[in-house]
């Protein structure tokens, strides 16, 4: 049985710009799948994307994307082969005003190396798949924000690449458009076998689409793992509101390892230890003659886990 190559394999990859170290000895190995790249501004995400697309040579180390080596100057045949594997959706508008949707996508197909006829046929197919068939003969500058994002996804998808590299795909979208885009990206990964590398600062996007996450800060990888693992290590928190003389109840909770993190409008935010059973709240409340008015989960978000990771 043939082994699937790693999606990304980086060994001590570094990139400096003068005195600025953008990436500092990054070593990373990721299997194909849906991967989120998270990091604050200036973390090195953009530099990593440029390296992965062969637009920027590393100053040190080596790397592969689906067994295609990274490196060298921008204008080399090896880098062109690398970019044929990748469909890139930029964050910027990146539209060509004056072209219709179908012309824009077909031109992308020809730029990837498809023949004119194949590119046109494929452009129609992809635009239909992305629900843009009725707008395909309209000029791209007349599209709404959601349509612009979808036509940008269409041009990345036109040559059916195994890897999609999406830079902030939900940028500028309203909640409904954002949900639709995330659903599409998720489907491309789950139903059509695309590997998706999602660069974003929105953790909710990663949570919605990705299986794995890479956290970058200060040019270094601060964490790599599956999203559900990251969510599993987050603290269990609750918001609790009680009625009655609660000092004894609170002291008893603290003695059992429950930390009261804060109090707002008579509601406590608490963190419970591992293995805590919620029935304990009610048993202790009864023992101290207080009434539990409300109890609801308030788990640590992925964002808070991320912030802890990057310090």
């Amino acid at each position: 049985m043939e082994l699937m190559p790693d999606l990304i394999r980086l060994e001590s990859i570094s990139r400096t710009f003068g005195a600025v170290v953008a990436l500092d000895g990054v070593t990373l190995s990721l299997p194909p799948g849906r991967i989120g790249v998270l990091g604050p501004n200036g973390a090195g995400k953009s530099t990593l994307l440029k390296l992965l697309m062969g637009l920027l040579p590393p100053t040190g180390g080596s790397g592969f994307v689906l067994d295609q080596p990274l490196g060298g100057d921008n204008d080399t045949a090896a880098n062109w082969r690398l970019r044929q594997l990748i469909g890139f959706m930029p964050e910027a508008d990146a539209l060509v005003p004056g072209l219709t949707g179908v012309e824009y996508v077909a031109l992308a197909g020809e730029l990837y190396g498809m023949s004119r006829r194949q590119a046109q046929r494929r452009a129609h197919e992809v635009l239909s798949y992305l629900e843009l068939e009725e707008a395909r003969y309209r000029r791209v500058e007349q599209y709404s924000a959601g349509m612009k994002q979808r036509v940008k996804l269409a041009q990345a998808l036109v040559h059916d690449p195994p890897v999609l590299l999406l830079d902030e795909p939900t940028s500028g979208l309203d909640p409904a458009g954002r949900d639709a885009m995330l659903r599409l990206v998720g489907e491309l990964g789950t139903d059509h076998g695309k590997s998706v590398l999602l660069s974003t600062h929105l953790l909710a996007d990663v949570q919605a689409v990705c299986e794995r996450v890479v956290i970058i800060a200060g040019g270094k990888v601060r964490g790599v793992g599956e999203v559900h693992e990251l969510l599993a290590v987050r603290a269990d928190r609750f918001k609790l509101r009680v009625q009655g003389e609660a000092d004894g109840f609170r002291a008893q909770l603290t003695a059992r390892g429950v930390a009261v993190l804060g109090e707002q409008n008579g509601e406590w935010q608490i963190r419970v230890p591992a293995g805590w059973a919620n029935a304990e709240f009610f048993r202790l409340a009864e023992a101290h003659a207080v009434t539990v008015r409300s109890l609801r989960r308030d788990d640590e978000t992925l964002e808070e886990v991320f912030l802890k990771s990057v310090g």
């Binding site: 921008n74 930029p90 990146a94 539209l95 060509v96 004056g98 992308a108 036109v158």
Partner: protein, 312 residues
């Protein structure tokens, strides 16, 4: 949005062979021409260029017709008898008889409209790629900077040649048909090759210069100002300095004049000062200026068109 099942049915994978990046330059050129021809202004300017072509077309026809109609007639000029056909031959000074000057002057005059078109086209073809971030769209594909520049230059060249070289070739065919075509085409093949060469020189020099200036300036109004400066101001300054210092070398400042001299040389025309606006610098010097403009433009493009801008 389609349900996952519907999407699965509608999304079809593509399996085919991708071609080398050189083909991408042709696609870029084709889309550039499409962008130009979608604007009514360019159709208007192209119509004006065609009017000039028709002027030459009918003048060529008219002169041959006059020569045939009045071949044996004479007229009295300053007391002397002159054959009308000889008088008509002297109209060659106007450059309307199918000589090398006919083609050189045709290129020169069409060039004025070409320059207006290019000044307006810069923002459409190149400036917008920077202004709207479309450079990321192009350079994230498996092509290099040279394919992008080549595609844009071919697009610009396509429009320039539609206004200059293509009508010039039609004039060549017409001139042959108006004469003894069996020998005329063979005897005057230099005119055809010269016209093609002149068109190629215009394509390369003007294309590179346009892309380079549009990369720096990007907007239409400043581009028009720069092109006006390059092709009008430099001519005035060049002529002024040539007169003041009594040296034709100053005319090298005028790029359009330099290209004209190269065109005359390619067409095999004699350099008669009275017919080419006075004493001119040697053609090799004009060639050096054209090469210098190309090299300067390429260096600028190498510096300004950077793939690293793809991910901001």
């Amino acid at each position: 949005m389609p349900t996952p099942t519907e999407a699965h049915l509608r999304y079809r994978p593509w399996r085919g062979t991708l071609r080398p990046p050189a083909y991408a330059a042709v696609a870029i050129a084709r889309s550039s021409l499409k962008l130009l021809f979608r604007r009514k202004l360019f159709w208007a300017l192209y119509g004006l260029a065609l009017l000039l072509f028709f002027f030459y077309f009918y003048c060529l026809f008219l002169i041959v017709w006059l020569k045939q109609q009045f071949a044996e007639r004479t007229m009295t000029i300053l007391g002397g008898q002159v054959r009308l056909s000889e008088f008509i031959d002297r109209l060659d000074g106007l450059g309307l008889t199918g000589s090398a000057y006919t083609f050189a002057n045709f290129f020169w005059i069409e060039g004025y409209i070409a320059m207006i078109v290019l000044a307006l086209a810069g923002a459409v073809l190149v400036g917008n790629d920077f202004h709207h971030g479309s450079l990321a769209y192009y350079l994230s594909k498996p092509i290099g900077r040279r394919h992008y520049v080549l595609g844009k230059v071919l697009g610009v060249g396509g429009f320039v040649n539609l206004m200059t070289t293509v009508p010039a070739v039609v004039l060549f065919l017409q001139a042959g048909l108006l004469n003894d075509w069996k020998t005329w085409y063979f005897d005057h093949v230099r005119l055809l090759l010269g016209s093609l060469g002149y068109g190629a020189v215009l394509t390369v020099v003007l294309g590179l210069l346009l892309v380079a200036t549009a990369v720096v300036v990007r907007r239409t109004v400043p581009l028009v100002m720069i092109w006006t400066a390059v092709f009008v101001l430099t001519r005035i300054v060049g002529e002024l300095l040539a007169e003041v210092f009594e040296s034709p070398w100053w005319r090298l400042l005028d790029l359009w004049n330099d290209l004209y001299l190269i065109g005359l040389w390619l067409l095999g025309a004699e350099f008669v000062p009275s017919r080419i606006g006075g004493p001119q610098p040697p053609v090799w010097a004009a060639g050096c200026v054209a090469v210098g403009v190309c090299v300067g433009s390429l260096l600028l493009l190498r510096r300004r068109i950077r793939a690293v801008e793809v991910v901001s």
